[in-house]
């Protein structure tokens, strides 16, 4: 119950909702209360004061009555007046909602309790006023001070407002219901704001909790990733050592160092070598991948002409493209600026992309490698100094276009993830580890560049597959910024 709740820091809210510790001054606006008093006074001409339960005056609208001023000008009169006022102030109507307190002048004060939700929060004091049925000046007024002038007192007393007690009761009821409404609205506003605050705090606490859980699992994942990279590096290294021996010995066998080989024997040995080379390439890409992930790959940076790189890629791939019946085109824009990079790694990037392109393009299709400059992203037209910067190339773009099965839009972001392949069956048909594009992306990024993939909308000779469907083709766009 209460103990459990307050241990979560909500004790204040619970107090509030259960209605304990409500104070008049917390529920109402003092200025608004002052205005209620003023308009009350303007309407009835009777002084009114509102006190909190602890006796503090919250608002009033008071005009000293002439007779009161006169009495207060006399020494003993002033003392008697003070005593009456403090008695009125501390008078409590008790369980009844109102009480009447007399003054020696014959006037009375009406004390009206302010209750909210069954609790006394304060009181309203209305008066002094003369009861309508007061016939003559009471003796107590003349007895209050020996210096009092009966003629003057008699002249001044009737200037005080004269009201019928039942009228005061009705006015009191009205005042109570007005105040009750104000208190209810105030209470609601107070609860709303407190509740709002508490809700926000609670939501914040929840978020904090979830955040710390998330960052914990993030740290754990990072650690797992590191372990995986270590594992890859170790395994690749350990696999490479015996493989080098296998390749070396099968090469020696093929060259006849261990004795002349006959027909099929030679063929078998060459198959062993071929598959061994493939395995070595695979292990190398695993090593590359783990080096890139751990950030230990070294780069020999220089100014590189991409045209030359693409030409080398072209001549490497030409034989296999020809064999497959795929047209390989290379188009490099004249005066293409050089970029900063590692020529060997750049060759690796484009060889991988172009190899893929050839692999996925069916016979009769074409693969194009296009390099050009781009000036998008330079100064906007209305910027200061546009005339100086316009058409200045900001990057070099290389497009690798194919006429293959394409990559569905939803898969395009994922093709660069390590070990990801769009369709598991394509591995069996086309081979590959699913590591190539992941390595390519990292290598491009190491050069400060970006790589994206899209549908090849500029195919000049679209190819159709066995079912007569047009192959959408894919285009990889690599962009290297120029400094």
């Amino acid at each position: 119950m209460s103990a459990a709740a307050s241990s979560r820091g909500g004790g204040g809210l619970e107090e509030l909702t259960l209605g304990h510790g409500l104070r008049l001054e917390d529920l109402v606006d003092r200025d608004a209360l002052q205005e209620v008093c003023k308009s009350f006074f303007a309407l009835f001409g009777i002084p009114v004061r509102i006190y909190a339960q602890d006796g503090a005056l919250l608002a009033d609208a008071v005009q000293d009555q002439a007779v009161c001023q006169y009495v207060q000008s006399l020494r003993e009169g002033r003392a008697a007046c003070g005593a009456t006022v403090s008695a009125v102030k501390s008078a409590d109507p008790g369980a009844a909602l109102e009480a009447t307190h007399p003054c020696f002048t014959g006037a009375v004060y009406r004390i009206i309790g302010i209750d909210y939700d069954g609790r006394r929060l304060g009181r309203v004091i209305v008066g002094p006023f003369l009861p309508a049925d007061l016939k003559e000046m009471p003796r107590s007024l003349l007895a209050v001070d020996p210096a009092i002038d009966p003629v003057k007192a008699k002249e001044l007393l009737p200037k005080m407002p004269r009201v019928r007690p039942e009228t005061v009761t009705r006015i009191g009821r009205h005042l109570q219901s007005v105040l009750d409404l104000i208190l209810f609205s105030g209470h609601r506003a107070l609860l709303t704001s407190q509740m709002h605050l508490a809700s926000v705090k609670e939501s914040y606490r929840e978020l904090q909790e979830q955040n710390s859980k998330l960052s914990e699992s993030y740290e754990r994942l990072k650690e797992l990733d590191r372990l995986k990279s270590n594992f890859l590096a170790t395994v690749s290294h350990e696999l490479r050592t015996p493989l080098t021996s296998i390749l070396g010995y099968s090469e020696m066998l093929a060259e006849g160092i261990g004795g002349e080989l006959q027909g099929e024997q030679l063929e078998f040995v060459q198959t062993i070598r071929e598959k061994g080379e493939q395995l070595l390439a695979l292990i190398k890409s695993l090593l590359d991948q783990s080096k890139l992930e751990s950030g230990t790959m070294s780069f020999k940076m220089a100014n590189v002409a991409l045209g030359e790189v693409l030409d080398q890629v072209g001549s490497t791939l030409l034989p296999s493209a020809k064999k497959k019946g795929v047209l390989l085109e290379i188009a490099v824009a004249p005066r293409l600026p050089t970029i900063r990079g590692d020529a060997e790694r750049l060759r690796q990037i484009f060889l991988n992309l172009a190899e893929n392109a050839v692999k996925f393009t069916p016979t009769g299709g074409s693969v194009r490698l296009i390099a050009a400059t781009d000036s998008s992203g330079s100064e906007p037209e209305d910027d200061v100094g546009y005339v100086l910067f316009a058409s200045r190339p900001t990057s070099v773009i290389v497009r690798v276009e194919d006429a293959g099965i394409g990559i569905p839009e939803a898969e395009r972001a994922k093709v660069f993830d390590a070990f990801y392949q769009v369709d598991g069956s394509s591995t069996r048909e086309h081979g590959g580890t699913g590591l190539g594009l992941s390595i390519v992306k990292r290598l491009v990024e190491m050069h400060g560049g970006t790589i994206t993939v899209d549908q090849n909308r500029e195919q000049r000779t679209p190819v159709v597959d066995a079912q007569g469907r047009r192959m959408p083709g894919a285009v990889f766009t690599v962009r290297f910024p120029l400094s």
């Binding site: 119950m1 209460s2 459990a4 709740a5 241990s7 979560r8 909500g10 809210l13 619970e14 909702t17 259960l18 209605g19 304990h20 939700d117 069954g118 209810f184 209470h187 609601r188 609860l191 709303t192 509740m195 709002h196 508490a198 809700s199 609670e202 939501s203 929840e206």
Partner: protein
């Protein structure tokens, strides 16, 4: 529960819980209508523009109970929408009893379940155990067409297997609202009395406590008969079971 021993004043907090639009606020509105003018305060509603409860509704009841104990009962509703989870947890703080207002519609069965699990979790987060909490369940909207709501026989059958009293209601007409309230009050009082020995401290006859409260609230009809309108486990047995699991 808050007790001001000097003022002989006891404040009890009862929370109406349940899925969105199951009729929690309607229950409070009906309570406001069905109790006598002097025994309740204004119904306070903290609502958003679309008339859904934003934080809670609050209906204060106050009566002089037996043995000159001042009894204040604060009825709260929680916002049913899933997003107001933190508000529900806050409103549930310090609750002495819970009336779970379920929507009888078959289509709402899953929402009822989700909300009940949410209740259990939020009680747990407040350090309270549902098993030890006075709880009654109300199946509201019994006036909807028979083929869209859970049938009476089915509810009665399920209730027999459950551990808490189950009431059927049409809160918009006020049917079953008082029954639900009195059933919950009876269980809550019994639980508080066992824990704090109020009947001895305040010289209250425990067996007539609820009857006296009902009379003070201006509730007509035999209170015990109203309480016994539950199907399945009757409140007295439920209370015993709740206490034995403590």
């Amino acid at each position: 529960m808050q007790l001001d021993f000097a003022a002989r004043e006891l404040t009890i907090k009862l929370v109406y819980y349940g899925p969105a639009l199951s009729g929690k606020t309607t229950n409070l509105q009906a309570m406001h209508k069905l109790t006598s003018e002097g025994s309740h305060g204004r119904l306070m509603t903290l609502e958003t523009r679309d008339d859904r409860t934003l934080f809670f509704d609050l209906l204060p009841l106050a009566v002089k109970a037996e043995g000159d104990l001042s009894l204040r009962i604060k009825l709260f509703t929680v916002p049913g929408q899933v997003i107001h989870a933190s508000t529900r947890r806050l409103v549930l703080q310090g609750a002495d009893g819970v009336a779970f207002i379920a929507d009888s519609q078959l289509a709402e069965a899953e929402n009822n379940r989700v909300s009940f699990l949410d209740l259990r979790q939020n009680l747990k987060d407040n350090g309270l155990d549902l098993k030890k909490m006075p709880v009654v369940i109300q199946f509201n909207k019994r006036d909807l067409p028979g083929d869209t709501i859970r049938g009476d026989d089915e509810i009665a059958d399920l209730a027999r297997h459950g551990r808490e009293p189950v009431y059927k209601a049409v809160a918009t007409r006020g049917d079953g609202v008082i029954e639900t309230f009195l059933g919950l009050v009876a269980m809550t009082w019994s639980r508080l009395d066992t824990d704090h020995n109020f009947s001895k401290k305040f010289n209250i006859r425990s067996d007539s406590f609820v009857a006296s409260l009902a009379r003070q609230l201006g509730i007509t009809g035999d209170p015990q008969r109203l309480i016994d309108a539950s199907v399945g486990t009757d409140p007295r047995a439920a209370t015993r079971r709740m206490e034995s699991s403590r």
